[in-house]
Structure formats: structure tokens, C-alpha cells
Amino acid sequence: MKLLVCISKAPDTTSKIAFTDSDTKFDENGVQYIVNPYDEWYALVRALELTEANGGTVTTITVGTAADDPTIRKALAIGATDAVRVDAEAKDPYFVAKQIAEYAKANSFDIVLTGKETINYNGAQIGSMVAEMLDQPFVSLAQKLEVSGNTATLERDVPGGAEVLEVNTPFVLSAAKGMAEQRIPNMRGIMAARTKALNVIPAIETAELTSIVSYSMPPAKSECKYIDADNMTELVELLHNEAKVI
């Protein structure tokens, strides 16, 4: 089984969100970058479990600069076979998807796995775009994945329930909670990661279809208004007359 896992870096979930340069850039000052949790905990770990059980390789791919190498090494330490970095700033989702799709096309993988979204941009775009560029099915938000020969069985929650899906390889999926459990890299893995291949390849040219022109912060929440636990009639009145939500 030949698997490709898309790895992105993301600011630690507890990072302070602030912007610089007249609110046009994310303020990286003091921000700790981690492997995007959906890419790491769910997509990468499930890919490793599948190849450990059935044989095969797990390659990671990242579109980014040398600043992304520490997060890529972390993915290698967790157990990926090798890594590819497309040497370019991740400009917009279409640009990133195009780079991944070109690499995947040239190297034919059985499954391309992404996390359900990155925790910074929450776009949930890459997997779907890559699937279209490869002309393959896309299973979004998968929470279970079993593979038997060329057939994969997947499960996911849908509004009001869950569904079981079947799809033949090759295909693309985005992984959500439930797919696997987080793995902490051990010392052996960390040592081995230093000598694993991290291949840097040039980006291909594509148009920049979208760009972020500025950021803003939500207006500050007004102070919480406390209501006495014995006076729920007052709460109902406030919800009706003041908040106007009922």
C-alpha cells in the first residue's frame, strides 16, 4: 500500500491570535508551530497503522519553506517513511492543492489522506481540490478507515446519524476525530527521523486565485450579565426582549 499524507503546520491551539503590518499578516511573535492536529493525529497515524498491518509506505507532503522542516521531521519521527516538501510559500488553497496533485499524479498513490481542516484557516479545501485534480473520489470527514485489497470501507457521522461508505482505491480522504489516536514519537523515532529522506522539490507555476487582503478581530464580548438561579423568568424575558433570540 502506497499512501500520501498531506501535512501542514499550524499555530498551537493555545496561541494568541494577533495581526501585524496593518492587520495584513498573522503575528508569529511567540507562536509555537505544531503539526496540524487533524493531519497528525488522524490522517498520519491511521496511514501508519494501515501500512504496519499490511505493508507499504507512508510519504508525507508539505507545501512550505524551510521554516516547515521541524514539523515535517516530527511527522517522520512519528513514523512516516519519507517526506516531500514543495519549496514555496503556501499561497492559496488552489496553489497548494495543485502542487500536491502534481506530485501524486507522478507517483500514483493508493490513498491520499488529509486532515479535515487546518486549525488556522479552517478551509477544508485541499482534499476536495486534490481529488478533482486527480479525478478521484473524495470521502470527506472520515472517522474510520479499513482497507481490504482494493476496497476501502469508511465511516463518518452525518447530521442526525452515521453512514458506512465503500470506495475503491485510488481515492482521497479527509480525516476527522475517531480515525486514530495520537502517537507520541519515541526517542528511536526521533533519532531515525534525522536520517530519513526529506526531499525538497520545486513548485510548479499556478495563478493565485485568492489572497487574504486583511484580518480583523471579532468585537469584544460585552460583560456577562448574571441572572439569579431562582429567577429564570428574568432570563427568559432578557432572551426575548434584549437578545431577541426567542
Partner: protein, 315 residues
């Protein structure tokens, strides 16, 4: 501008569909593309939200990403659409980026407002799990916008729309649904305007009756925090938060949930938040509009009674 709005019907016209059509009609002449067996009269009612034409593909009953992409792209080409609007629900998330890639269109994910066309085409979106907004400029001639639910109220224009069948060649579905496990009934969480949610403070699944009672009185959906779904007190599809689903209801009532940052990431788009907790230091109070320091076991039934009295006075 020519606008195409994709909607999923499942037999009835959802609020999200009306929102998307209203949003589209404020940008330009709006055509709707849909599929399945919704009856023509129900589809034509979208004219009241501003659509002028409804295209329906009757040959497709189950939505899947590849065939829907072909359907939407064919409709976009047929109508020379400049802007394509898709509601950002589960199906929309799978389909919209594909459509954008197919049309080489710039894609905006998580739109919460109408585009600003004073200089280019800029759309405000939710980023950093609702902790910030980004203004995304779309530089391509064709544009795809994924609209977050509850971003714009559906409007009634009094207009009407003609309904026409549209059955382009769609190829095969790559994905087969083997089994559907539906759990429970009631209001679906992602599109609910009112949500009653509870966490570990309720001490056990047997105590959820008071959550459900209040939800029934309000006509609200029920939700829960991550630990509650993880230990199996409630089904996973009710889990809201960073790793569950993100919701943006008008009213979110949280009982016995401390309000960890990961939980807030799933609910901070709510218009009004009510927090009920015994611990006055619970971090959730900082994000709340209304707070009740008290035991959920006493507060929820009282709130339910007060709500019932209010509902009765409204009739």
C-alpha cells in the same frame, strides 16, 4: 452578475438553502441547481427568496462529490455563472472546493458576509476557529463561495421562479453508501437556530431528560461537549467543539460545561450564549452573554418552566 446556487433538498427546502438563495440574489441574477425528487412547487417557492430559475437533476438521487461536481460545473457553464454559492455543510464542504478546482475558480471557504465589490471582490470569512476574520480577495473571473449557515437571514421577495429539468452526463459515482445509521429525531444540529447543550456537569446520561425537555419546549437541537461524547453518554454527532462540529445558532444554552478553548472554538459564532454552571470561575462565563451560577439540576427545570410559561403567553 450571473449567480448559481447549489442546494440539497432531501424532500424539503432547508433554511440553509433559503439563506444561500437570498445571499446569491443580493449579488446577481440567481439560478438554483439541485438534484433529487423534491416536488416542483416546493422548488419554485425559492423564487420568493430571489431565485429566477431552478434547475433540477432528476437522474441523481444520492449526492456524491464527483457527480455533483459535474452537475454544478455543467450548470455553471450553461448559465455562464460568474459566482457559485454553496452552503458550507457536510456535503458542501466535500463538493465546493472540487467545483472550484474544476472551474479554476478562486474558492472562499467559510464566508459570513456578502462580498465587498467596492474594490475587487472581497469576502469576509471565519478563520482561526472563529477567533478572527479574514478578508479574502478573489482574483479569478469565476468565483466559488462557501457560505456558513446562519450568516444571512432568508428574505421574502414575493418573486417566482420557473423550474426546469437539467440532466447532463454525470459519469459514475465513485462512492457507495452501504449503510445509513440514523439516530433519533428532532432538530438537526448544524442548522438549528436554538441549541441546548450539556457537559460532564450533568453527571450521567440518565440525567439528559431535563436537557431534552428544555430543547423540546424551545424547539431546539441538543448538543454536548467532547468528554460526554467520548465516554458515550451522548452520540458523537452531537459533539460541538474544535474536533466535533462548529455551530452558529442564535441561542446556545450550555449547562455543566466549563468552556475549554476547544469547546469555544465550536460555538463562538453563536449570537447569544447562556452559561449555567455551579463554578462561578468557569472560563465559559467570559464568553457568555448571560450567566447563571447554579446547579444545572435545579436551573434547567426552572428554566424549562419559565420557558413554557413564556410560550403559553405567546399563544
Amino acid at each position: 452578475m450571473s449567480v448559481l446556487v447549489f442546494i440539497e433538498t432531501k424532500g424539503k427546502i432547508s433554511k440553509a438553502a433559503k439563506e444561500a438563495v437570498t445571499y446569491g440574489s443580493k449579488i446577481g441574477t440567481t439560478t438554483v441547481i439541485t438534484f433529487g425528487d423534491a416536488d416542483a412547487a416546493a422548488l419554485a417557492s425559492l423564487g420568493d427568496n430571489g431565485a429566477t430559475k431552478i434547475l433540477v437533476c432528476r437522474s441523481l438521487s444520492e449526492g456524491n462529490d464527483q457527480q455533483l461536481t459535474k452537475l454544478i460545473a455543467a450548470a455553471a457553464n450553461d448559465c455562464s455563472s460568474d459566482v457559485i454559492i454553496v452552503s458550507q455543510d457536510q456535503l458542501g464542504k466535500a463538493v465546493a472546493p472540487r467545483v472550484a478546482a474544476n472551474l479554476e475558480a478562486g474558492h472562499v471557504s467559510g464566508a459570513i458576509a456578502l462580498p465587498d465589490t467596492s474594490s475587487g471582490f472581497v469576502v469576509k470569512t471565519n478563520v482561526f476557529s472563529g477567533k478572527a476574520f479574514a478578508n479574502v480577495s478573489v482574483n479569478s473571473s469565476k468565483k466559488v463561495i462557501s457560505l456558513l449557515p446562519n450568516s444571512i437571514p432568508p428574505e421574502s421577495t414575493g418573486g417566482s421562479a420557473e423550474v426546469a429539468e437539467f440532466n447532463p452526463e454525470l459519469g459514475a459515482a465513485g462512492i457507495t453508501v452501504k449503510e445509513m445509521k440514523t439516530q433519533g429525531e428532532g432538530v438537526l444540529l448544524p442548522e438549528a437556530e436554538l441549541v441546548v447543550s450539556a457537559g460532564r456537569g450533568l453527571k450521567g446520561p440518565e440525567n439528559w431528560g431535563m436537557v431534552e425537555d428544555l430543547a423540546t419546549t424551545l424547539g431546539a437541537a441538543t448538543a454536548c461537549s467532547r468528554p460526554v461524547a467520548d465516554i458515550g453518554w451522548r452520540p458523537h454527532h452531537e459533539h460541538v467543539g474544535q474536533t466535533g462540529i462548529a455551530i452558529r445558532p442564535n441561542l446556545y444554552i450550555a449547562a455543566g460545561i466549563s468552556g475549554a478553548i476547544q469547546h469555544l472554538a465550536g460555538v463562538n459564532g453563536s449570537k447569544t450564549i447562556v452559561v449555567i454552571n455551579t463554578d462561578s470561575e468557569a472560563p465559559f462565563f467570559k464568553a457568555a452573554d448571560y450567566g447563571v451560577v447554579g446547579d444545572a439540576f435545579e436551573v434547567l427545570p426552572k428554566l424549562n418552566e419559565a420557558m413554557k410559561a413564556f410560550k403559553a403567553s405567546q399563544n
